[in-house]
């Protein structure tokens, strides 16, 4: 049932040269991720979790191994094709700097649809209903500079899932938030996962985030040391 596998990594390695010392961020990671899963990748800083997320998102390329996202092998794609893949199949939520400062919340949510070429009427309608379902309609006309960190992250999530991506990648989504706001945000993610079936892959070292995920993958020194799904299986 390959169609149920959204992400598949085979023997993925990635080495950085940091001040002429090679850093093995990933060492032959094998990893599969099914549609509708909510997975958190955990591990201390330097364990390679961000790198794993980045190579899956096509922001970084592995030195060895293959990555397949929704049946497309990333290795053969050029920069433009990778851009298009991210545009159409993935949603991103970053630690900070998620939003375009010169656009309002509504415009930010519309933005990716605009890139995709969705018509203005449909765009506005979908963006508004997305803000509505996330209870942030009142932020529609505000610019990122006038919002709190939690509000910005909500708008970022709205933007990333409004196009119904195959996969939502969230790198330390709670890094700049207090714990109450983090709980809110995670409840939102869980709801999206359960109600809309959004596949979520998050990298974090925040135990609150881990506790919300169905499956936890522990990474240490660039290798998977524990996978809760494997245990269940």
């Amino acid at each position: 049932m390959s169609s149920d596998i959204v992400v598949s990594c085979k023997g993925v390695s990635r080495t950085y040269q940091e001040e002429s010392v090679p850093v093995h961020a990933l060492r032959g990671v094998d990893f599969e991720f099914a549609r509708g899963e909510f997975v958190s990748i955990a591990g201390p800083s330097g364990s390679g979790k961000s790198t794993l997320l980045n190579v899956i998102g096509g922001l970084d390329r592995p030195d060895a191994g293959t990555i397949t996202v929704d049946g497309v092998e990333l290795n053969g794609l050029n920069e433009t094709e990778l851009s298009d893949l991210r545009l159409h199949k993935m949603g991103f939520v970053f630690q900070s700097y998620n939003l375009i400062p010169v656009l309002s919340a509504l415009e930010n949510v519309e933005f990716i649809m605009q890139l995709q070429g969705v018509g203005p009427a449909e765009r506005a309608e979908r963006a508004m209903s997305m803000l509505d379902s996330l209870d942030i309609v009142d932020l529609a006309d505000r610019r990122p500079g006038d919002m709190s960190g939690g509000q910005q992250q909500r708008v970022a999530i709205a933007r990333s899932i409004v196009t119904n991506p195959v996969l939502l990648l969230a790198d330390e989504p709670s890094a700049n938030l207090d714990s109450a706001t983090t709980e809110d945000l995670l409840q939102l993610l869980r709801r999206l996962n359960e109600e809309r079936g959004v596949s979520i892959l998050t990298a974090t070292h925040d135990p609150i985030v881990m506790s919300y995920a169905q499956r936890q993958v522990n990474l240490r020194d660039g290798a998977i040391v524990e996978d809760s799904a494997a245990k269940v299986a």
């Binding site: 980045n54 998102g57 922001l59 970084d60 920069e79 433009t80 851009s83 298009d84 893949l85 991210r86 545009l87 159409h88 993935m90 949603g91 991103f92 970053f94 700097y97 998620n98 375009i100 400062p101 010169v102 656009l103 933005f111 990716i112 605009q114 890139l115 070429g117 933007r159 990333s160």
Partner: protein
């Protein structure tokens, strides 16, 4: 990638730093405005020089007997049919004048000078400087006027004035010298003194009688439009077979060379001003791009193509340039209006005269020049943005996000 979206992003990013971009705009406006004004002055000078050359008894086209240029003598002459009219539409023609011009010696009680003695029909001479000059005393009345008009500078050299008599010696058609006395009807005054010292005028019939032949030595024709020149000249060459048909560029090569140089000067000015502008423009663009690196990295991460990022930076530069060019053209144009009739440079009269220029610098704004400046400036804006755009594209989205 929808251009409209990129336009919106670029516009808002420009508005984000109003003071910075305002200053940059001011610099662009100064540059474009200065180029516009200087272009109009260069054009004014260019046209004036051409005009002065054409007015200098030359006309756009001049017909001479074969050999007259090498040996300007009364035996190099031609006969013009009675009631001759150039074969040209009236709206293309300012006028024409048939003259007799011979070298001569002029003498007053106090001095002797070599001059060009020109017989004219005053009614025809609105095409040349002598028809437009200011006078002390009287003008010549018609082609059979037996008096002379001389330049003010020559009158000073000869220590003579209106009403006094002069003796002029020239060679007749038979090759023998003729000597005749003339009364001075008036003194003419031109911008410089070089013409005033050389040309002495009398009625054409008077001079024909003096040299003893009913002939002309030159026919000058002035047109309304310079571009019509070539076509007209060709038709004249067919009509006047056996005579030399020359245009002003051939007759006044110095003025023609300056005319060509003025075209180049317009580009030189443009590149100097844009050269001064480019450092500030590139600095502003780079800064505005570099402080947005994370934002641009995020845009790349969510799927904006590298090309679109370049387009966004180029658009930002182009929009700034576009507004700056528009305002600069308007500012330049207003300044030209304020200059009005021109800048008085009579302080430099002799220097200007020596190089064939007039003492008033008159601005002539040409739509073509403005379009050229606008087009080149926009192109320049695009070129200036390529380096910052290339800088930002070179940064991988991942690095950008890490910053």
């Amino acid at each position: 990638m929808p251009l409209k979206l990129l336009l919106q992003l670029s516009t808002r990013n420009i508005l984000r730093h109003k003071r910075r971009n305002g200053l940059l705009l001011a610099a662009i406006i100064v540059a474009v405005g200065a180029v516009t004004v200087s272009n109009s002055l260069i054009r004014g000078m260019q046209y004036d020089m051409a005009d002065a050359a054409v007015s200098n008894l030359t006309g756009h086209v001049k017909i001479l007997a074969e050999g007259y240029r090498d040996d300007p003598n009364i035996d190099k002459n031609f006969v013009l049919a009675e009631n001759w009219q150039p074969d040209v539409a009236a709206e293309e023609l300012v006028g024409w004048a048939a003259r007799v011009r011979v070298p001569a010696v002029i003498m007053s009680e106090r001095g002797t000078r070599g001059i060009q003695f020109v017989g004219i029909d005053p009614d025809q001479e609105d095409i040349s400087f002598i028809g437009q000059a200011a006078y002390d005393g009287e003008r010549l009345t018609d082609g059979s006027d037996g008096r002379v008009v001389i330049g003010r500078a020559l009158a000073e050299q000869l220590e003579t004035t209106v009403g006094r008599r002069l003796v002029i010696i020239t060679q007749g058609a038979d090759g023998l010298n003729r000597e005749a006395g003339f009364r001075i009807a008036g003194l003419y005054d031109t911008d410089g003194t070089s013409l005033e010292k050389i040309f002495v005028f009398t009625g054409v019939n008077t001079l024909q009688k003096m040299v003893g032949a009913d002939v002309f030595t030159e026919l000058s024709i002035r047109l309304v439009r310079e571009p019509f020149l070539f076509q007209f000249k060709t038709s004249m060459i067919e009509f006047f077979t056996g005579l030399e048909v020359l245009d002003w560029r051939e007759l006044e090569p110095q003025a023609a060379a300056m005319f060509v140089f003025a075209d180049a000067a317009i580009f030189i000015w443009f590149f100097i001003m844009m050269g001064a502008l480019i450092f500030g423009l590139v600095n502003t663009l780079i800064t505005s791009v570099m402080e947005r690196v994370r934002e641009l990295g995020m845009l790349r991460a969510v799927g904006m193509r590298p090309k679109s990022v370049i387009v966004q930076v180029v658009l930002e530069s182009s929009i700034l340039m576009f507004i700056g060019v528009a305002c600069g053209l308007i500012a330049g144009w207003l300044f030209i209006l304020w200059l009005g009739e021109g800048i008085d440079l009579s302080r430099f009269a002799e220097g200007m005269d020596a190089f064939g220029m007039r003492t008033t610098m008159r601005p002539i704004p040409l739509a073509g020049d403005m379009l050229l400046v606008a087009g080149l400036s926009l192109l320049f804006g695009v070129l200036a943005s390529l380096y910052p755009a290339w800088r930002v594209v070179k940064i991988k989205p991942l690095e950008a996000l890490r910053r």
